[in-house]
């Protein structure tokens, strides 16, 4: 009975001595925010307010808990008062236990007061506003503040130093905040991720489990250490070294996660000016020789093509530029004009460059604005085969323009990037009865049929055909559903074998596969799903990482491999576009860089490199190309040669 009475007296003493800490907490996190909130309420016509106290507690509560925990011990423990206290009929463990309980009540009480006030103000009161705070919201806050308090308290019991225990607790909290951002495996313990909203339902449980474990371990350590007279003294030097080295270590890990890891071998500016149309850039490669074309706005406007070779040691050699011959200029000075737009660039089986384009009818109005006559219409499709021998000039080897059927409303079949390159051999046009009407006929042209090829095939399209397009390497005919509840259906064909379109037995219409992929591969927090297909495998990129899926039949896919991105790396994964470069290498190009994956084993895709490039989303270009030893990255006007990631290179060779 006497021991309990003594312990109660200790609690009363600690409570009295904690008055400054209590007042500071209440003033900082309740009274001042409350005054500000009421001020906002008075001024705001909508009579709703921002929960200032709540956010102040989230931002600074952990620091308050650390200072409270360290102060609770160091205000008498380790000073002359310690000996006076221990001279009383109480054990050291009872003293520490009393301090621990009073401090915990103080911290939890502060959270309870602030939360209750905020909920009352924003939900229950006369000024009810739209607030996301509910009774579950304080759970992560309680976890963070409890862990902060316990860490500082334990460090203070072990060191008896106010500054040292505060710094140590702050460092541990810094690691706890930052580590889950650096590793996807630690994401479940992340506090910042919990509050950011990018979380699954299971993350909260791990946070609570971790917090309870830390609290139990710290409380046990404090009680065990209370009886020891030898304390761990931390001098300023040790503390400074610890802080410095931990900051350096965290910085190194962060830079390893998001920094560029691919070696730059060489760089060159492709064009002499930066005044070029980014949307017009097209790239293609033939072995170790690369070709890039774009529209140059500089003093001599026109379509320019550049070529260069990448040597085995990664040097750029033989960079040359020429105006592409035989192409009409783009901008009329005044009046009306026909102009050519290059929409596709490829290499044929003879190693010649194949340039495909559209001829448009452009009108410049009185204000100087350019208009294309007839929305979405075109004058003709053309294709030029160019030869560019080593050291020679760029010359037109052959040129063809389609002989278009008359009295038809024609549209060219566009790919996903608006290009008409689809097939190297065939060109596709759709015809409709009226301007802007649904297509009812598909014309197939063979570019090898002389300089003015006529339609090789004339294929009637099914009724209600809404569109014909090239996507994912296939020609896709889509039929719109007459019933709004049903999905549109789609049939796919190999665009290099147009004869298959004639046989109606080949036309099996089903739900569009890319819509299925979007639905099937979507996951919370992943946002944009981008897919690259190769054979039976689909490589799915989203914000959370790269997944490899295998076609399981009937439009269904099973995930066979995955690599998750660390939260910090997600900042550099804005709408990643996957592109399979060869059997072993896949590259995701984003607006903030490129990420290389070794995909030789589809069940274990591995992130093998990152380069912080400024890669814009080119409508029809490939910003990243590869040789056996190197990657070639096109950043606006700059071409950069990088070492191919080691793992992928070794496997491919």
């Amino acid at each position: 009975m006497s021991a309990v009475w003594n312990w109660c007296n200790l609690v009363r003493k600690e409570w009295r001595e904690s008055r400054e800490v209590i007042i500071a907490g209440i003033v900082a996190f309740w009274i001042c925010p409350t005054m500000l909130e009421l001020f906002c309420l008075a001024l705001n016509g909508g009579h709703d307010t921002f929960p200032i106290g709540w956010w102040a507690l989230i931002a600074g509560g952990w620091l308050y808990a650390i200072i409270a925990g360290a102060n609770m011990v160091c205000r008498d423990w380790g000073r002359a008062e310690e000996h006076f206290l221990l001279a009383q009929p109480v054990s050291p463990r009872a003293v520490v236990w009393a301090k621990l309980v009073v401090g915990a009540v103080l911290v939890v009480g502060l959270i309870a007061i602030v939360t209750a006030w905020e909920i009352a103000l924003t939900r229950r009161g006369v000024f009810a506003g739209d607030s996301e705070i509910n009774w579950q919201s304080p759970i992560p806050l309680v976890c963070v503040m409890a862990v902060s308090y316990m860490l500082a308290f334990t460090a203070a019991v072990m060191s008896r130093q106010m500054l040292a225990s505060t710094v140590v607790a702050c460092l541990v909290m810094l690691i706890w905040m930052v580590a889950p951002l650096l590793s996807s495996a630690m994401t479940r313990f992340g506090v910042l991720i919990f509050w950011s909203g990018a979380r699954g339902s299971w993350i909260g449980e791990w946070l609570i489990i971790l917090s309870v474990c830390v609290v139990i371990i710290c409380a046990t350590t404090s009680l065990l250490y209370a009886t020891r007279e030898r304390v761990i003294r931390l001098g300023n030097k040790q503390l400074a070294w610890t802080v410095g080295l931990i900051v350096l270590a965290l910085f190194s890990v962060a830079m390893t996660e998001v920094g560029s890891s691919l070696q730059v071998r060489d760089q060159a500016e492709l064009f002499e000016t930066s005044k070029f149309d980014l949307g017009s850039v097209r790239t293609v490669q033939r072995g170790d020789r690369f070709f890039v074309t774009c529209y140059d706005y500089s003093h001599e406007p026109g379509w320019v093509m550049a070529t260069f070779r990448v040597t085995d040691n990664g040097r750029i050699e033989g960079l040359r530029r020429f105006l592409v011959p035989g192409i009409l200029p783009r901008d009329p000075v005044h009046g009306e004009l026909l102009r050519d737009e290059i929409t596709g660039l490829a290499i044929n089986e003879n190693g010649q460059l194949v340039v495909t384009g559209i001829r448009l009818h452009v009108v410049r109005d009185q204000r100087g604005n350019l208009w294309i006559r007839g929305p979405g219409e075109f004058e003709n499709l053309w294709r030029a085969t160019l030869s560019w021998p080593e050291g020679g000039r760029l010359e037109v080897a052959s040129r063809a323009e389609l002989a278009l059927p008359t009295n038809e409303h024609l549209r060219y079949v566009a790919s996903e990037f608006g290009s008409n390159i689809g097939s190297l051999r065939y060109g596709y046009l759709t015809a409709s009865v009226s301007e802007g009407g649904l297509p009812n006929k598909l014309y197939v042209f063979d570019w090898q049929d002389g300089p003015n090829p006529s339609p090789r095939l004339e294929i009637p399209l099914p009724q209600d055909t809404s569109s014909v397009r090239v996507w994912g390497g296939k020609l896709r005919i889509r039929i719109q559903s007459t019933n709004p509840r049903n999905q549109d259906r789609e049939a796919t064909f190999d665009f290099d074998q147009p004869e298959t379109l004639l046989d109606k037995r080949n036309r099996s219409f089903h739900s569009p596969t890319y819509n299925l992929q979007d639905v099937e591969f979507f996951r919370p927090g992943g946002y944009y799903v981008q897919v690259a297909e190769r054979g039976e495998l689909a490589y799915v990129s989203d914000l959370l990482g790269l997944r490899v899926a295998r076609h399981a039949g009937r439009g269904h896919w099973e995930i066979v491999g995955e690599t998750r991105a660390a939260p910090l790396a997600m900042l550099f994964r804005l709408v990643p576009q996957p592109k399979i470069l060869d059997d072993s290498l896949l590259v995701e190009s984003t607006e903030r860089g490129i990420i290389a994956y070794d995909v030789l084993d589809p069940s274990k895709p591995k992130r093998v490199g990152f380069f912080n490039a400024i890669v814009p989303r080119w409508p029809g270009g490939n910003p990243v190309l590869a040789t056996k030893r190197h990657l070639v990255v096109c950043e606006y006007n700059m071409i950069t040669i990088l070492d191919r990631p080691t793992n992928a290179k070794a496997e491919s060779q």
Binding site: L163, A240, F251, Y636, M638
Partner: protein, 258 residues
């Protein structure tokens, strides 16, 4: 007299070398890591490292020498020796400047090695971005990353030495390391955030540029870089030569306190 000064320097080295080595390792590590990661162009990384990170290091160095003596009660003992207060302060300042300069130099070498290890990279000229702007004003910063790092290191070191001198003399009044560090942080914040708010317009900007010892660092990447030599000269005279010349005056000694 020179022997006394050398002895004071030796004493300072023994007392402050841990700060030097810690700062050297952390600063060089940050410079090398940042430049090797190539998250931002090397000239922007250099501004970040020789700006905010350098300032933290300056506070770390300036807060230590005198405040630690006062906290350990050795200041009075030192003053009882046959050396003047000005000599002690000059010895402490010299050691601090040497440590700062060597750290900046080693940091620059580490940065160059880091850039070299990943290949010297030039950022593309993105239309409408700072790289395009620098293409018109100071293109060499982007096209010559090694040279730009050396230039930033040189200008940054001079700017940081200027601020170190002022901070060192101001913080000499502090009674302990904690107060000195807090004072250093507050004064630096005041310099960086409040001083630029003094006014707008060309005259005000000139005054602010002359008063702010860190302004050369930000001037390097703009077209006003032509004024840089004159500005550096003004800063060295204003922030280093004058304070050191008058450090022995009775009024300053009185302000610093015994």
């Amino acid at each position: 007299m020179a022997d006394v000064f050398r002895a004071l320097l030796r004493k300072e080295w023994h007392e402050q070398r841990w700060r030097f080595f810690l700062g050297l390792i952390v600063f060089s590590g940050l410079v090398a890591g940042m430049l090797r990661a190539q998250l931002v162009p090397s000239n922007e990384a250099a501004v970040l490292l020789y700006g905010p990170v350098g300032l933290v290091f300056v506070i770390f160095l300036a807060a230590g020498p005198v405040a630690a003596e006062r906290a350990d009660r050795t200041w009075e003992f030192l003053m009882a020796q046959p050396v003047s207060r000005a000599e002690v302060l000059r010895a402490k300042w010299t050691m601090g400047v040497m440590q700062l300069a060597v750290t900046m130099l080693v940091g620059a070498v580490a940065g160059l090695l880091a850039i070299w290890s990943r290949g010297f990279r030039i950022m593309p000229k993105v239309p409408g971005s700072s790289t395009e702007f620098s293409a018109e004003s100071a293109a060499w910063l982007v096209t010559h990353p090694a040279l730009s790092l050396c230039a930033f290191a040189a200008v940054g070191t001079i700017a940081l030495v200027c601020w170190f001198t002022s901070l060192f003399l101001l913080l000499a009044r502090a009674r302990n390391g904690f107060a000195a560090a807090l004072g250093g942080v507050l004064l630096t914040i005041a310099l960086l955030l409040w001083l630029p708010q003094l006014g707008s317009g060309n005259k005000a900007l000139l005054v602010v540029a002359a008063l702010n010892p860190l302004s050369p660092l930000f001037l390097l990447s703009s077209w006003r870089a032509v004024f840089l030599p004159a500005l550096l000269l003004i800063h060295i005279v204003l922030w280093v030569v004058l304070p050191l010349r008058y450090v022995g005056r009775r009024r300053i000694e009185k302000w610093i306190g015994a």
